[in-house]
């Protein structure tokens, strides 16, 4: 079992003529909470999109949990255990909060019309246990009170929490979180950090695109700096603060902060 859960090699991605990601190579250690930081436009979100299969891989290689997933459709990558959240919340607006979780936590084998018509006792039991987990998770993230609301009715901050809860409910091996703190009430940021660390202890590996360096300092064991579409440096925050290139490109006073 390799130490690195995710290995990206020479990934390049172009939009029209613009190279958003330029031969980027990085790796994420199993069990870590790794941060992906860098100025706006560095290609971080694009990287997340390509790795998760939301955008089709153009060139480069991606290895996840020992398998080459480059070119796989996103649903196949998801089933392998790699999930992502979105920078701008994309909740299932017309579904309730509970349904938003149920739909991602469901055993795929039950999502077919035959099972729907002939609902077996096993299926019912599975739904029951899922509902238990839903209740627990909603309480953990503080969305229990709004569980029956349609997701589109939630406030911006609540939607961010739902975005996060949804990824966690699906019990991924690895979660790619795209600016999970953006739009979250500062009071809750500490809560969310606690949750991420808790989930890390339950065995989830994280790659978090983040601008808030306090968060990075607090919970991330490893940091990757991305500038201009490729990896500039990687290490702990301490090491990076001592790296003049990194400071110049991002960490210095003139760096663009979200």
């Amino acid at each position: 079992m390799s130490d690195d859960l995710l290995v990206v090699s020479g990934l390049t991605h172009k939009y029209g003529g613009v190279r958003a990601v330029n031969s980027c190579s990085l790796s994420v250690r199993r069990g870590s909470v790794t941060a992906l930081i860098g100025p706006n436009g560095a290609g971080k979100t694009t990287l997340v999109s390509v790795v998760s299969g939301t955008e089709r891989l153009q060139s480069g290689e991606v290895q996840f949990d020992g398998a080459g997933i480059g070119g796989w459709p996103s649903y196949r990558i998801a089933r392998r255990g790699l999930l992502r959240s979105f920078q701008l919340s994309r909740e299932f607006g017309g579904l309730t909060v509970v349904d938003n979780l149920l739909v991602v936590g469901q055993d795929t084998s039950l999502e077919n019309p035959i099972s729907a018509v002939f609902q077996s006792a096993t299926a019912r039991r599975r739904e029951s246990s899922l509902l238990e987990r839903v209740a627990e998770l909603l309480q953990e993230v503080g969305l229990y009170e709004v569980r029956d609301r349609y997701a589109r009715e939630l406030s911006g901050g609540q939607k961010r929490l739902l975005e996060l809860a949804r990824v966690m409910f699906a019990e991924p091996k690895m979660a790619l979180l795209d600016e999970p703190m953006a739009g979250v009430n500062p009071v809750l940021i500490e809560r969310v950090c606690e949750l991420i660390v808790r989930w890390q202890h339950r065995g989830v590996t994280f790659l978090i695109v983040e601008h808030k360096l306090e968060v990075v300092e607090a919970i991330c064991d490893h940091v990757i700096v991305m500038v201009g579409g490729s990896k500039l440096a990687a290490g702990t925050m301490l090491e990076l603060r001592g790296n003049p290139e990194v400071v110049g490109a991002y960490l210095g006073g003139t760096a663009a902060h979200a």
Partner: protein, 326 residues
């Protein structure tokens, strides 16, 4: 006494159209698939059921059609539903994999006109523009005459409609239904969470088209005849309006929409005391009214009369037992 037969007639039509609305609701209400060729699948079901039940085509009468197996109604009905499903599968595999909704809509829209042209012009298939007629009365064990049969047919119509309503309900309140709705909400995200959106949408398309085919089979048993004039694109439109007005994503809405649009508006207006000159204009007026209602509903109350039911779950977080209530 004529009233009784008229109402029974209406009742059978109501069942047939309700099944249609339920099927479209599955395709569009749950899964967001734009089937602009919906009535064509109804026609496929009708024709196949018809040629299963009819005897071989009689050259003396100058008619030509395929098959002519003299099979019992239920076999024909099943065949009709299955054939509609197969055609849906064929189209679906070709177009649902990569195309966005506009183009799925265009492809199916085009299919409806292409099949209309084909069936009308290629007479060996279903006797062209004249169509097939003389389909024997289904399930006529008691040898009823035409009038009594109208009353009798309410029973099989109601049963079929009831069964399919139950099926649609089960589909809706299931992980499958939930997955379909997620895809409708945001296909990219649904895929990002492991849903095979292509297979799920394909299955919704096929199931909906099977509903349409079964409705067609049921109706040809009642109409005893079928010709292209009965399944023009405008008919697809009536069903769409029924589903949208009734409430997209809601089975009860689909049934209510059928009642409002098909029964009240279409059949009901036939009864209005209208001067003779206007009588001929009624179909056109109806068409205009239906079009305007559709646009108005989409603008002012897109969710329709009966909005999609909000599932309520009873969660008891700290205890073992959880119960789902609707």
């Amino acid at each position: 006494m004529v009233w009784v037969y008229y109402l029974a007639n209406l009742g059978v039509f109501f069942c047939g159209y309700a099944i249609l609305a339920l099927g479209l609701n599955i395709q569009f209400g749950y899964a967001g698939v734009l089937n602009f060729a919906y009535i064509t699948f109804w026609a496929i079901g009708a024709y196949v059921t018809g040629v299963f039940m009819l005897g071989p085509a009689s050259p003396i009468l100058g008619e030509t059609y395929i098959l002519g197996l003299h099979f019992p109604f239920l076999v024909g009905l099943l065949a009709g539903g299955i054939t509609a499903g197969l055609v849906a599968t064929a189209m679906g595999t070709l177009i649902l994999r990569r195309l966005r909704s506009d183009f799925v809509g265009i492809a199916l829209f085009a299919l409806s006109f292409a099949l209309y042209d084909l069936v009308g012009n290629f007479t060996p298939l279903f006797n062209g523009w004249d169509g097939i007629l003389g389909v024997p009365l289904p399930l006529n064990f008691f040898g009823l005459d035409a009038e009594q049969f109208i009353l009798y047919y309410l029973i099989p119509s109601g049963i079929l409609a009831g069964i399919l309503y139950w099926v649609a309900s089960r589909l809706s309140k299931s992980p499958y239904g939930r997955a379909l709705r997620a895809i409708r909400e945001d296909e990219v995200v649904a895929a990002a969470f492991g849903k095979n959106t292509y297979l799920l949408r394909l299955s919704a398309l096929v199931i909906g088209c099977v509903f349409a085919g079964l409705s067609g089979g049921l109706m040809i048993g009642f109409l005893t005849a079928m010709a292209p004039a009965a399944w023009t694109n405008a008919e697809t439109f009536v069903v769409w309006t029924a589903v949208i007005v009734g409430g997209m994503g809601s089975n009860r809405g689909a049934v209510l929409g059928t009642f409002v649009i098909v029964i009240l508006l279409t059949e009901g207006t036939r009864l209005l005391p209208v001067p003779l000159e206007l009588q001929n204009q009624l179909p056109a007026l109806r068409g205009i009214v239906i079009g305007l209602i559709l646009i108005a509903v989409l603008y002012w109350r897109r969710r329709g009369l009966i909005p999609e039911e909000r599932p309520q779950y009873r969660l008891v977080p700290d205890k073992g037992a959880t119960v789902r209530s609707q």
